[in-house]
C-alpha cells in the first residue's frame, strides 16, 4: 500500500510538473488562413505561428497535405475562420494528425465565425444554390468590429490554454484594441467617399468590407458560389454594366482575373485585384496594412 501511494504521488508530481512546464512553453499555433496568423501575432507575439494557406490560395480548396498534418500534429491551438469554410480539409487534418488538443472548440480549436454574427446565414441549403455556407459568409476578417470581437474571444482562448501568461495576453489585447479602434476611425473617414459606390466582384469574398464601407456589390462574376464565371453569365453582367453606374470590377488575390478582364475590356471598367489577406500584395504585411492597402486601392477609382 505504501509503495502504491508513493508511486501515485510520484506520478502526480510528474504529471503536474510536465503540465506546468507545458503551460509555460510558448504556444504552437496553427492558423488556417493568414489573417488569423496575423491576428495571433498581435495577440500572442511569442507564440510559434504557422499559416496553412497564403492570400494567393483559395481557402475553400486546400489539400489536406502531409506538411499540414505534420504542423497540426504539433499544434496547441488551431485558429480557423469556421462557418464551414475549411470543411473540405480541416476535418481530414484533424483525423490524420491524431492531435487530441485541436479536436474540439472546448479545447484548442477556435472558429472565428462562432464569436460574431455572420452575414447571409441561410435557413436551408441546397447544392443547386452552389457552394454556399448555411452558417453565413466566413470571410469576416474585413469587418473591423467583428475582428475586435474575435480578438477578445481569441484572447480568452489563449488564456484558457496558457493561464500562466494571462497578463501578457491581456496586455497584448488592450494594446491591439486601442490601435485597432484608432485605425478603424481613420479607415472610416478615409473610405467615406466610397459609400454608395457600386462594384461587380468575384464571389462574396469582400462581403464584409463592402458592408462596412457601404459599397454595393451589384453583380458576381460567379454564376453561383463556387462555380467559375461562364460566358453566358459574363454576358449578362456586361448588360448590367451598360447602365454606367459601376465603379470597378473587384477580384481577390487568389481569384483568376480572366473573366473580370473579359468583362472589363468590353464594359470599359477597371479591374482591381484586392489582397484577400495578409501577404496578398506587397503592402499587406499585417492586418493594419491589409486594410490600408484595400482601401487605398479602392480609392484610386474615386475623384478626390
Amino acid at each position: 500500500m505504501r509503495i502504491n501511494s508513493n508511486l501515485a504521488k510520484v506520478v502526480m508530481l510528474t504529471l503536474s510538473v510536465s503540465y506546468s512546464s507545458l503551460a509555460n512553453a510558448k504556444l504552437n499555433i496553427f492558423a488556417c488562413e493568414p489573417e488569423y496568423a496575423a491576428l495571433a501575432k498581435e495577440l500572442a507575439p511569442d507564440a510559434k505561428i504557422y499559416s496553412a494557406t497564403t492570400a494567393m490560395q483559395d481557402p475553400h480548396q486546400v489539400q489536406a497535405r502531409p506538411s499540414l498534418i505534420a504542423k497540426m500534429r504539433q499544434a496547441d491551438l488551431a485558429i480557423c475562420a469556421g462557418a464551414d469554410l475549411e470543411v473540405g480539409w480541416l476535418p481530414m487534418l484533424q483525423m490524420k494528425s491524431s492531435n487530441a488538443k485541436v479536436r474540439s472548440t472546448d479545447q484548442g480549436l477556435f472558429f472565428a465565425a462562432e464569436h460574431v454574427n455572420t452575414l447571409d446565414k441561410l435557413e436551408s441549403v441546397d447544392r443547386s444554390m452552389g457552394d454556399v455556407h448555411a452558417k453565413g459568409n466566413p470571410h469576416l476578417h474585413f469587418s473591423p468590429q467583428r475582428m475586435l470581437k474575435v480578438a477578445e474571444a481569441l484572447t480568452a482562448k489563449l488564456i484558457s490554454l496558457d493561464p500562466a501568461s494571462q497578463e501578457q495576453y491581456k496586455a497584448a489585447l488592450s494594446k491591439f484594441s486601442d490601435k485597432w479602434a484608432q485605425a478603424t476611425s481613420k479607415w472610416e473617414t478615409k473610405a467615406a467617399p466610397l459609400k454608395g459606390k457600386k462594384v461587380i466582384a468575384y464571389h462574396s469574398s469582400f462581403r464584409y468590407l463592402f458592408d462596412w464601407i457601404g459599397i454595393e456589390q451589384v453583380g458576381d462574376l460567379e454564376p453561383k458560389p463556387g462555380l467559375p464565371p461562364s460566358s453566358s453569365h459574363l454576358a449578362s453582367l456586361l448588360k448590367r454594366a451598360e447602365a454606367g453606374d459601376i465603379m470597378a470590377i473587384i477580384v481577390a488575390s487568389y481569384q483568376s482575373e480572366r473573366g473580370a478582364e473579359w468583362l472589363g475590356e468590353r464594359a470599359n471598367l477597371p479591374v482591381q485585384i484586392l489582397p484577400m489577406s495578409v501577404g496578398g500584395n506587397d503592402q499587406s504585411q499585417d492586418l493594419f496594412t491589409l486594410y490600408d492597402s484595400a482601401i487605398d486601392l479602392l480609392l484610386q477609382y474615386q475623384p478626390r
Binding site: Q57, I69, G82, A100, L227
Partner: protein, 408 residues
Amino acid sequence: MRMTNFRVSHVAAACALISTSAFAENPTLTNPAISAVLDGYYQNTERPMAERVEGFGLGHTELALSANIDDMFYGKLTAVVEMHEGETELGIEEAFIQTLAMPGGFSIRAGRFLSDVGYLNNQHVHTDAFSDRPAVYRAFLGSHYFDDGVRLNYVAPTDLYWTMGVESFKGDSMRAAAGGAHEEHGGHDEHDEVHAERDYKDIGIYTAYTKIGGDIGHGSWQAGLSYMRNENGRMVEGEHEEHAEAEAGHEGHNHSATFTGENTYIADFVYKWAPDGNYKYQHLTISGEYFKVTDFAPIEEEHHEEHSAGSVDDMQGWYLSSVYQFSPNWSAGVRYGQTDVQELHGDHFHPEKLKEAEVSLAWHHSHFSTVRLQYTNQQGTNYFGIEDDNVITLQYVMTLGAHGAHQF
C-alpha cells in the same frame, strides 16, 4: 386542427434544421454527415479483374454515414450497392470506429476499413481520376483492399510528416484459392484429398507501413513503403479455380485478390502541384506505385522432384499516372502500368503479362459532379486471353449530401 398544424410546423422546422446541418463542421450522432455517391457508366467491353461489366452499368454506388460518436470516437459506415448479374447486392465497405483523443499521436481504428498500404488503397474509388484502379491493384488487392481488422497508427511530432502503422485483418478476400475441387486431375484422387480442406488461418493479413511527406515550393509530396504478410497467400498445387472463375465472369464483385503471395512489398509516391499552391483553377498530380509479390509457389511436395515452381520469378507490377486539371471544369489524365504475374498450371507456372495504357478526360460542372471518358489499350501476354484490347468507358460520378473532406 390547431394542434396538427402546430405539429406539422414543428416537423417542417426539424426538417429545415436537418437539411442545414448536413453541412455541419463537426457532425454528431444526432447530426451525422450523410453522403451518397452515384456512379453509372457505359463500357464497350471489360477490363480484366475489374468490377465494371460490358454495356450499361452502375459502378460504386455508395451511401455513407459518419459522425463523431463522442469526444473519443469517430464512426463511419459506408454501404455499397452493386449489381451483379441482375442481382442487387448490398455490401458493407466501411464500418469502423476510430479514436480521436489518444495521447502521443497514436490512433486506433477497428472494424471494417480500407487498409493504409500503398497510396491509392485508402482513397475512395469515387475520388479516382480513372474509372478503374490500375491493373496492379486489381491483380494483387482486389481493386481496393478493405477488411475486418484493427490498425494502430502513429504520427511523429516532426515538421517532416512521418506516420507509421500496423494493421491486422481477417484476410478472407486475400486467400489463395483452396486447391481441392479441381477437375483437371481426374476427380477424387488422393491429390484432392490432400488439399480439399485447406486449413486457412483466421488472421490472414498483417501489414506495416510508413509514409513521409512535405512541401517543396508550391508542390507537395508523399512517399511510402508498405509490407503485407498474407498467411493464406501461398498457392497450393493444382489450383486455378479462382482463375477459371475470373476468366469467365471477371470475378464478379467479390473484391478478392486474383493473385496472392505470402509477402507483398509496396513502394509508392505522389506529388501534387498548383500555381502558387492555389488548387482553385489548375493543379497537377503525379503518382506511382510498385508492387512485388513473393512466396506464392506451393511448398514442394514429395511427388514432384523437378518442380519449376520453386525457381519461378516473383510477381510484380507498377503504374505511373499523371492528372492535370487545366480549368475548374476540365481535367485530363494519362496512366501506364504493367503487371507480371505467374499462374499455376498443375505443377508449373505460366508467366503472364498485362500492359495498360490509358487516357481519361473529365468534365466537372462543380466539385460534386464529374463526367468522364476513358480509353484503355491493353496488351496482354497469356493474360486472360487478352492480346490487344481497347476499352472505352463513359462514366459519371456525382456526390450528394455533406461535403466530404478528401485525403491528399
